[in-house]
Amino acid sequence: MTRAIRCVGGALLALAATAAGPQALRAQAFRLHWTTTAEYVQLRPIEYDSASGAYEALPVAYAAPVTQDVEVSAWGLGVEGLRGYALMRGRAALGSELVWPRYGDHFDLLAAYLELQRQTWRLRLGRQQRASALGWYAFDGLTAGWQPVSALRIEGYGGRGLARATLQPYNSPALLALDPLHPDQGTILLGAALSATPFARSSFSAIYQREVLSDRSGLVSERAAVDRRVGIGSFLTLSGSADADLAEQWIGKASVSAAVRLSRSTFISLEAFRYRPTLDLTTIWGAFVPESNNGYTASLQLAAASDLSFSGAFTYRRWQPLSAGSPFLVDVPDNQKEVTLGAHARRGALALDGSYHLELGYGGDQSGGDVSVAWAPQDGWRAGLSGTAFKQTDMVRVTGGTVFGVGANIRTPLGHRLGLSADVTRYFQRRLAGTTGVDWNQTRASLTFDWTMGADADRTGGYR
């Protein structure tokens, strides 16, 4: 946390120094987005009772995590194309007996950088997050991008690596405390990427990334990925992607898919895929040679009318046969099937949604459905009721049961810059006969306040 604060301080000092420079400041502006989310989550821990030799449910406990996100973008700092950007997250657990995951870590600096954008190139210095075909990586360093034409960008990036999905340096005390075998060194992340849209509805990207221990004594990961998407006419989109673990010398995830658009809102898509996890070479699991699964998905969305649509999908996954090598496992299949169905209807401001899903096979069986009805006019207001039910039988762990839930939700756009939303759901569990699962009767609620202030520098609508 101390380091994070230092990073924020550094970024702010840099901003201040730039702003206070000798050049005349022109058109200073900023945009601040503030999101506060408070949740109330009831949970029921379990405990192993050595006397009975079984897991017993403990009384219901609750967690009340509060998340505070602040996004700031400031520009007009006296240098054309210079911008400061920061995305911060604060966490706290209000009066709860339980601590929600990571809520002992009260502050995260998700991103904080200075950006200098010119006609054909861009520099970013500071904490950055990079979403790519390799996943979501963060680092403290520099990204240099060159965009000779609007449809092509070439980038190189590098800096101090942060542990995946934590935003903590690899050798942070917090991570070292979790696992005594965790490396006590930091990492250096280097990468290069190319993105292009050679013609309409098509894209191509390639990325190479290497992460090494800061003393160069070993490799953490070395990965590459290629993605390609081609739109043929307005009705067919072909996609393909693959990533390779160059350190382990195997293919990770890969997929090919075709999506056919029969009308504006009616689609059919088919996808064949393969999944193999990527594991850093800093843990012993990197040498355990994880097995891949292969499968396919067929999905359909059908617009029966302008306000009535249906969707459905079927997914099949298959693993290498297990039974021959593991006679000790009971009824563990080598495949998994998944079916999802959905419907959406709207009449005026009234929206009705329903869905059903069924999973059978490896990992356990699960079936359930959700239904919601909402009054949702076009101006952003929404008030709705929801119901859910699911039943599951897990294959390799203590749990299982049938759960019903009823809830209500409301969203109030209090203006162009304010929003307030809340929801609450109560779940009721019926334990399946003969199972040793835990009670799961519990209540969950959340309240979100969203506020934007400052200039409308960017898009005023859309998915921001």
């Binding site: 075909a133 658009r261 599951q392 203590v398």
Partner: protein, 480 residues
């Protein structure tokens, strides 16, 4: 005879039609009608009044004071002795947008066949064959004989002049009167898209003011047909704050419109500007792009039409499962996704911990199945050794001090059969177990010394990171 009949004819016609032309009114002044319904039982007085001008003498002459009978005339009979008392007073006149001038009409009808006896009935008789004094308010359909130009109904006419004055001239009408105007049959669901040609004439001004058009047209100030209309405060009060819903033109319904609209816009935005403001485009285009056609549009102003709101329009290639399968598209994010999305949008899911909308409300209970089967790559957002284990320990699902395999109670032989499961779902194992736990059995130098490497293990990995191998092979890495 004619002289005797005319005053009565005019008086009656004024009373029944509720229309009059004041003696000194401007030429384009509007006609008026009684503010209350005409309830006078004309037919019952047929034998008493043999001419209309006995009561409505002012109609033909335009004399306001004598258009309706004086109360004393009624009281002559309705005094409580001869007939029941009636306290009738002349009506207040209700404003209309009628341009009817009775004087020339009466003069014309008197000169036609039937003369003064039928002059009033030509407009005010309920039907052509009904007797004298069976009259009522003049119906617009009866005007069509001369003014209809072949139109089957009153509202089906192409021209509203000369019977009606423009809204600007109908100063006596209130906003409520204007709001209650009848809707012509031509103004059906397709009218919005096709009214341009009709708008070139002057008929629109009978019912509409500039403010009405400007409530839809973002570019109202630059459209001559709109600019030619007068502004009107009454209409302004009716359209103030109204957010219009814009129909999609046929061209916009084409499947490739999203892709091709740029080409159309580059050829000229005159048509686009009718419905779209600059801000309409910022749902997808960024301000910084400085797209010339976008910049050629009018900017949204509080005093003008809001225009089409395209915020949140879903691109055609964002299939229903886009949220789970956007990887290929996102891989070229800097030249595709960034056109609409900012980092905060991505972080709302990828920064974990605060993405209940992504997983669904009851995901906490259901996620085990998906994690085991690797339906999604949990590790892309969640560090399994931090995020997952944190919660699992809190809830008693990790480090439970239970005998090995007890948690995996559905598999009695778990200890001996877990290898296959671990290879399929190694990330899930790491969500509860630390490395030391695995080393209890899988260390090369202690414990049971069971080799965890699978059949596809490549010893060359030791050259990539010796420290990893030394965790188990504490005394040295075996030669290949």
């Amino acid at each position: 005879m004619i002289a005797r009949l005319l005053p009565g004819v005019f008086a009656l016609s004024a009373m029944l039609a509720g229309a009059w032309t004041p003696a000194h009114a401007p030429k384009r002044a509007t006609a008026r009608r009684p503010a209350v319904m005409d309830t006078f039982p004309h037919a019952r007085h047929e034998k008493l009044f043999t001419t209309c001008d006995a009561c409505h003498a002012g109609i033909a002459s335009g004399d306001t004071a004598s258009m309706l009978p004086p109360p004393e005339l009624c009281a002559g009979c309705h005094n409580g002795d001869m007939a029941r008392r009636v306290d009738w007073q002349p009506h207040q006149w209700r404003a209309t947008n009628l341009a009817l001038d009775h004087t020339p009409h009466v003069a014309m009808f008197v000169g036609m066949e039937g003369g003064a006896e039928t002059a009033c009935q030509r407009c005010h008789a309920r039907a052509d064959s009904l007797p004298f004094m069976d009259v009522g308010r003049a119906r617009p359909e009866r005007c069509l004989g001369c003014h209809g130009e072949g139109a089957p109904t009153h509202l089906a006419q192409q021209q509203c002049q000369p019977c009606h004055v423009t809204l600007h001239e109908a100063t006596g009408l209130t906003a409520a009167d204007i709001a209650a105007f009848p809707k012509p049959p031509s103004h059906d669901a397709t009218w919005v898209l096709s009214h341009k040609q009709a708008a070139l004439g002057g008929t629109c001004a009978i019912c509409h003011a500039q403010n009405f058009c400007a409530s839809c047209h973002v570019n109202a100030a630059s459209v001559p047909a709109i600019d030619s209309l007068a502004a009107d405060e009454r209409v302004a009060s009716l359209v103030s704050g109204v957010r219009r819903t814009f129909p999609r033109p046929p061209s916009h319904l084409a499947g490739d419109w999203d892709r091709k609209h740029g080409q159309v816009a580059r050829a000229g935005v005159a048509e686009c500007a009718n419905c779209h403001a600059q801000e309409s485009c910022y749902g997808c285009h960024r301000l910084q792009e400085r797209v010339p056609p976008v910049r050629a549009l009018f900017s949204r102003a509080s005093s003008a039409a809001y225009g089409v709101d395209l915020a949140g329009i879903r691109p055609a290639d964002h299939l229903p499962d886009q949220l789970l399968r956007h990887r290929v598209t996102a891989a070229a994010g800097d030249v595709t996704c960034n056109r609409c999305h900012t980092q905060r949008y991505c972080a709302s899911c990828h920064d974990a911990a605060k993405a209940p909308g992504f997983h669904g409300a009851d995901f906490v209970q259901r996620h085990g199945q998906q994690a085991f089967a690797r339906e999604e790559e949990c590790a892309s957002c969640h560090n399994t050794q931090v995020f997952c284990r944190d919660c699992h320990r809190t809830l008693g699902r990790a480090d439970t001090k239970a005998p090995i395999g007890k948690f995996h109670d559905a598999q009695p032989g778990w200890l001996f059969g877990h290898g296959g499961i671990a290879r399929r779902s190694i990330e899930t194992c790491a969500s509860c177990h630390a490395q030391n736990f695995c080393l209890t059995c899988h260390s090369a130098t202690s414990g049971w010394q069971i080799n965890p490497h699978g059949s596809h293990f490549s010893p060359s990995v030791s050259s990539k990171n010796k420290a990893m191998c030394l965790i188990c092979h504490t005394t040295g890495i075996p030669s290949q």
